[in-house]
């Protein structure tokens, strides 16, 4: 600390040293301020738990089956939101073609895998390539010809839906091979596990994940200390590790009492980890934020913003393909109407998760929280038996409220 901060500057500014020594209560308040949506998410979960207990008497939001369900139902939103976040970061740009692209790639997967009995791995690769190509097609017009993304993806929305209908001839392709579905719909440990070993084995998986997390935290701290960088107080670190491990173990305990850990969680974890890393720790990731924050400044700093934009939309196409593969496995069918309004789920998740509608601000973890938040709303209201039209109305208000909160809190910050 002391060796980095050299000259004592003017007396007015608070010394960084003082900031680290703020009382505990302030750390708590700071945490709530920084993680408003996470707190809101937990509050919503607890609220649903209370409401469900009062209304039904027996049901529970935190029942093992429901938590498993929640993950299976919302996997695609997490995947799409990760991609959408990159587009939004480049300057509040959105991709409207996501749901329709998903239907088209689902149709391709059905045609190849079910109707033509193609090898499933080859099909997966082909689908990912087609998704990337569709993304690149739109990305080219957006990035290099600078057609507004809203228009390009609106056109994509129409034509991809149409292409899905043409390919399927208005029919539904079903069922998908069991081998294929195994990669998205099954549970770990496998179904062959004796019932009495299910809970312990699932907990072991959870414990392994906790161990990896703890080791990573300690490693990062040690390497920081070795290079003489600032480290947070050990209390904060231990509290965080304990809380996160406790949550992980609780969730895996719930899994154990259901069917085990859903394998889709692996796909989700990989997607989230990769994009979190990309946005927070890499140079091209930093370029996304720079472009969205101030494109001119980015250009003057030597950043090829066309390339940044091209990548964001091409990548979106790739993730649409991933989400599509997840969805056909989950619904066990490819239909012309698949993916209806999915783009709005993804966009909503990003904004609820704190992304700026002007670009340059937002995180993958925020988008994930946003996606889970929307999922919790859907799921909780369904259990309570809220009418579908009411559900939509409420979700609309929540989305608006999240953005209002973001904008208002920023305004207050600039005034003071």
């Amino acid at each position: 600390m002391a060796d980095i901060k050299k000259a004592p500057t003017s007396g007015k500014e608070p010394n960084p040293q003082e900031r680290l020594d703020v009382p505990r209560a302030n750390i708590g308040l700071e945490f709530v301020k920084k993680n408003t949506m996470l707190v809101a998410l937990v509050a919503a979960m607890v609220l649903f738990q209370v409401l469900i207990t009062i209304n039904t008497g027996s049901g529970s939001f935190f029942s093992p089956a429901n938590v498993t369900n929640l993950i299976a139902q919302n996997g695609y939103v997490v995947i799409l939101a990760s991609g959408m976040l990159l587009c939004i970061l480049t300057g509040g740009n959105i991709d409207l073609s996501v749901g329709c692209g998903l239907a088209f790639i689902g149709a391709v997967a059905g045609e190849l895998m079910v109707n033509r009995h193609m090898n499933i791995y080859l099909t997966i690769v082909i689908c990912l390539l087609i998704g990337t190509a569709l993304g690149a097609w739109q990305a080219f017009w957006i990035a290099y010809v600078r057609i507004p993304p809203f228009i390009v993806t609106l056109a994509g929305m129409l034509s991809f839906r149409g292409m899905a209908g043409i390919l399927l001839g208005g029919l539904v392709i079903s069922p998908f091979p069991q081998v294929y579905k195994r990669y998205f719909n099954s549970f770990l440990p496998g179904s062959a596990t004796p019932a009495d070993l299910l809970v312990p084995l699932t907990l072991v998986i959870g414990a392994i994940i906790c161990a990896v997390f703890v080791i990573a935290q300690i490693y990062s701290r040690v390497s920081k200390i070795r290079k003489k960088y600032n480290v947070e107080s050990p209390v904060v670190m231990i509290v965080r590790i304990v809380v996160i491990c406790a949550v992980i173990m609780y969730v895996f305990w719930l899994f154990g009492h259901s069917k085990g850990m859903p394998v889709i969680l692996i796909t989700l974890a990989v997607v989230v980890a990769v994009y979190h890393y990309y946005t927070s720790k890499t140079v091209p990731g930093r370029h996304l934020y720079a472009m969205g924050g101030n494109e001119k400044a980015a250009i003057f700093s030597g950043i090829d913003t066309n390339k940044v934009l091209f990548f964001a939309y091409t990548n979106m196409g790739f993730l649409v393909a991933v989400a599509s593969l997840v969805c056909v496995a989950r619904f066990d069918s490819a239909t012309p109407s698949a993916g209806n309004m999915y783009e709005l789920d993804a966009i909503g998740a990003c904004f609820i998760g704190g992304a700026s509608a002007y670009g340059g601000v937002g995180t993958v973890s925020g988008a994930v929280i946003g996606a889970v938040f929307m999922g919790v709303l859907n799921n909780g209201m369904s259990i309570l038996g809220v009418d579908a039209n009411w559900q939509r109305t409420i979700k609309g208000f929540v989305l608006l409220a999240a953005v209002i909160m973001d904008v208002v809190s920023k305004k207050r910050r600039t005034v003071s």
Binding site: I4, K5, K6, A7, T9, S10, K12, E13, P14, P16, R19, S223, K224, K227, Y229, N230, S280, K281, T282, V283, P284, G285, R286, Y289, A290, G293, N294, K296, A297, A298, I299, F300, S301, G302, I303, D304, S356, Y358, G360, V361, R413, T414, V415, S416
Partner: protein, 509 residues
Amino acid sequence: MKDYLLKMQNITKLFSGVRALNNVSFDVEEGEIHAIVGENGAGKSTLMNILSGVYGYGSYEGNIIYGGEECRFGGIRDSEEKGIVIIHQELALVPHMSIAENMFLGNERGKQMNIDWGETYQKAEEHMGIVGLKESPRMLIKDISVGKQQLVEIAKALAKSVRLLILDEPTASLNEDDSQKLLALLLQFKNEGITSILISHKLSEVSQVADRITILRDGATIETLTKGTDDIGEGRIIKGMVGREIQDRFPKRESSIGDVSLEVKNWTVYHPLYERKVCDNISIKVHRGEVVGISGLMGAGRSELAMSVFGKIYGRGISGSVYLDGKEVKLNTVQDAINNKLAYVTEDRKTNGLILSNPIRVNVTLANLGRISNHGTIDSNKERADAEEYKDMLNVKCNSIEQLASSLSGGNQQKVLLSKWMYAQPEFLILDEPTRGIDVGAKYEIYTFINQLVAQNKSVLMISSEMPEILGMCDRIYVMNEGRIVAEYSRDEASQEKIMSSILSASAS
């Protein structure tokens, strides 16, 4: 004895407990030009916002007596009704609307549901005539120069039958010529009985036109100087502003000039849209350890020259050659330029320079992410340590490097912008308006830093519209006009008059 149009008495304003204004009093006589000066953060803008009703009655303590009666403005509309019009530093014009539409925006001619366009254009033309604008009132704002936009703002104020005109830094983005025109206009208004309050950092202009000068420092009135009775020279004003006499506004430097390091030869650039040469056969050179200035009017092509050299980000049909340390280089992208150790510190830190929504740390490292990354992965620990180091090096005043760039004052933003380019480890720097709109203290720090750069044998090319700065800082000065270099002076030869006359004679020919 003259009548007082405005008296502000014992104004105190708190922002969440912090005293922005402390018992400020000043008065404005009918028909005078009253200047308010002070360093950034002295409270000038806050005071004017109270006067114009942006901070409504009740949010401050004290009295405003205007035209003989006490006023309690609840909003801008209330003060405008009384003929108080404020023109902010950042112009409030809609680029895609015509001059006339802008002029009567919020003050439309005709009826609420039936705008009288005939009257709108007729009246617009009349008011434009007064301020000396000869454009068609149907011209779009985006198609006229910044200087003319400023005149439109003033014409807009006239259209509201203004009695007290407040100008906040009206000449900050104007060149010398347009500034002079604007000041002449103020004097003309004075003859017509319009009272003005002028807020400006450009003290030469203040001493030129103001009848009285009120000096604010740290939220309090220090003194009011009257033309004729007090000394209102720049030195005297600065003394009041900073509370001490700055003997020399420009730090001394021992020049030790080396070999030619940056040379541009026969550089010609066409406008990106029109068939017009923006830079016409320009040849300039900068030596190691030398500060070279480019003086000229706004629109002379100075920034365009810099941008076209810096990776061809401006212009079309670029021809000519660039030599760095005697070797010809092809700089086709900004990345090429950065790799060749060239840095261009852009003018207008807000639109071209910084990412305001991001923290200081991100801004500092942006132009050289390679330095903190390995195979594209950023080492966030090293980034933090480096950002701290550069923040300290340029003495950026902030709570931490995680503070957003938008929350910093202009001077500190400029320092962050400089740190960003220093982080790219350049040998040749082009500084475009490096001290625009920042206070005297911060300016001095930046000048000192420039001296450190040349002491390290780097080369600095400085574009500036502020003549004293060019004269005070540069070893050699090029004068540019309408895309051509029209004169070159050494430090000893140069003077404000010489530079101005070479521009004017070049324009006339």
